[in-house]
């Protein structure tokens, strides 16, 4: 369970988060929506303890992580699996070694078993053919999918965090990744999806938060989202209804 309790965060004089509070339980599928630069990525970084809040508390499974040392944070981070916005693959390792990184670090699998596991993970995300390539030889979508495969290799996470998992992908690939994300959290494992593509968010999430000017402007389920009167959300929703209409007239 993740609890944000009156969290403030700023980069220098840029106040990114102002008094944010929310609770996300372990098996919830949450989407954090918001415009570019509103601090969505910042929230994920705070959850993982990569940055520390200026004020307030972040409690994960009953433990306050705000003052933990790097060593203590390791256990907290093990509970999550994250796909960064940029993928953040290790650019001096090829795809196979990237995916195998965690396996080598934490398991005592033999070389054959690692190879087998890596191929299996790459098959799940559909980029098995790219196993020998270097990260800078991948397309944007492949990059993202390899990053997802790598995050799956991390030891059994309780929750998944996705930062813009579908942004910048064509609709077909975005759909594939949405399905993949849903599949992965089938057995009750929750996820937090950060995105500004509401279209993908409604496919995956059951609860939505809308971030604006450092505060949470909206927090509710799909029903409430559709009937929300917040003007920014209306703009987002228009986009969805437009594409629905296009779908209908097209087919």
């Amino acid at each position: 369970m993740i609890v944000f309790d009156k969290v403030w965060f700023s980069y220098g004089i840029n106040h990114v988060l102002k008094d944010i509070s929310f609770t996300v339980s372990e098996n919830e599928r949450v989407a954090i929506l918001g415009e570019s630069g509103e601090g969505k990525t910042t929230i994920l970084k705070l959850i993982l303890g990569l940055i520390r809040p200026d004020a307030g508390k972040i409690i994960i499974d009953g433990e306050d992580i705000t003052n933990k040392t790097e060593d203590e944070l390791r256990e907290v981070r093990m509970k999550f699996s994250i796909v960064f916005q940029e993928g953040a693959l290790f650019d001096s390792l090829n795809v196979k070694e990237n995916v195998a990184f965690c396996l080598r670090e934490y398991s005592k699998l033999s070389e054959d078993e690692i190879d087998h596991k890596v191929r299996e993970l790459l098959r799940i995300v559909g980029v098995e053919h790219a196993i020998e390539l270097m990260p800078d030889e991948l397309s944007g979508g492949m990059h993202r999918r390899v990053a997802i495969a790598r995050s799956l290799a991390a030891c059994e996470p309780k929750m998944f965090l996705y930062d813009e998992a579908t942004t910048g992908l064509d609709p077909v690939n975005a759909d594939i990744i949405c399905k993949l994300i849903l599949d992965l959290s089938k057995n009750g494992r929750g996820l937090i999806l950060v995105t500004h593509k509401i279209f993908d968010a409604v496919k995956i999430a059951e609860r939505f938060m809308f971030l604006k000017d450092g505060i949470i402007l909206f927090d509710g389920d799909k029903e409430e989202l559709v009937h929300s009167t917040v003007s920014e959300i209306q703009i987002y929703l228009n986009e969805v209804s437009l594409s629905c209409k296009a779908n209908k007239s097209g087919g």
Binding site: K45, L50, R77, E86, A88, F101, C102, E105, Y106
Partner: protein
């Protein structure tokens, strides 16, 4: 405000230097990374150290034999060349070359890892970047720079020999015997303490600069430049301080 920033930067630097070294005695150990680093830093620097050393030795020997022969003291060439190479020039040139080649490499590699969020990835996977990245670099520098310095010293002395014998027409046996006279415990000790400290300094400074990179490719340029410049200045300054301390400890009077 400036002073406060400076102090907190210095504090971060000391923490990195201490924790990087502590990583050598605390699990987990990343032996593979260390061997890779030693290969890159040590074996990879061999050719350039060889070239720089041989020409330094030859230039020094040439200059000294010209100067000394006008005083009629040509036979001292070996002794002076020996002392200056073993105690001063050898360790300092090797360290300067090392800072230029390996220090800049460390800073730019770590810097681009920071910019590509790869360090964040490491931390998320529960890997301590200090142990995985900094410790292997510090240890390999502490091991490889002294090794390179010894090789450089030998090569320089051979360069000096070539000039003394074939250009300045001195006796080769005498040259080597005066070199052997110079190889006393004090001289060798003074010359071999330095590279350990230089190696540690270069690795810590470069890792620190690399890890504090921010601001895109311009930031990377800045941190790489800073790594080399600060390393070079620190090598020269600490060389002076070390020379002073060593002369005092070994009981020389100035």
């Amino acid at each position: 405000m400036k002073i406060k920033e400076l102090i907190s930067e210095l504090q971060d630097f000391y923490l990195l230097s201490a924790r990087g070294l502590l990583g050598a005695v605390k699990k987990p150990f990343y032996l593979k990374d260390m061997i890779e680093q030693m290969d890159y830093a040590g074996a990879g620097s061999f050719v350039i150290i060889f070239l720089v050393s041989i020409f330094t030795g030859m230039a020094l020997s040439l200059q000294l034999s010209a100067e000394l022969s006008s005083l009629g003291l040509k036979m001292y060439t070996g002794k002076v060349v020996g002392i200056s190479i073993i105690r001063e020039i050898g360790p300092v040139t090797a360290a300067l070359v090392y800072a230029g080649r390996v220090g800049s490499g460390i800073a730019s590699e770590l810097g681009s890892m920071i910019l590509g969020h790869q360090i964040d990835s490491l931390r998320v996977f529960g890997v301590d970047p200090m142990k995985k990245l900094v410790t292997p670099r510090i240890l390999s520098s502490i091991i490889m720079l002294p090794a390179l310095t010894i090789i450089g010293d030998v090569v320089s002395l051979c360069g000096g020999y070539y000039i003394a014998v074939f250009v300045s027409h001195q006796s080769g046996t005498f040259y080597w015997s005066s070199i052997r006279d110079v190889l006393t415990f004090e001289n060798v000790f003074a010359g071999s303490v330095k590279p350990f400290i230089f190696g540690y300094l270069i690795a810590c400074i470069s890792c620190y600069m690399g890890l504090s990179t921010k601001g895109g490719s311009k930031g990377l340029r800045k941190s790489t430049t800073r790594a080399v410049v600060v390393s070079i200045v620190m090598i020269i300054v600490s060389d002076f301080i070390l020379t002073r301390i060593l002369l005092y400890v070994l009981g020389f009077s100035v």
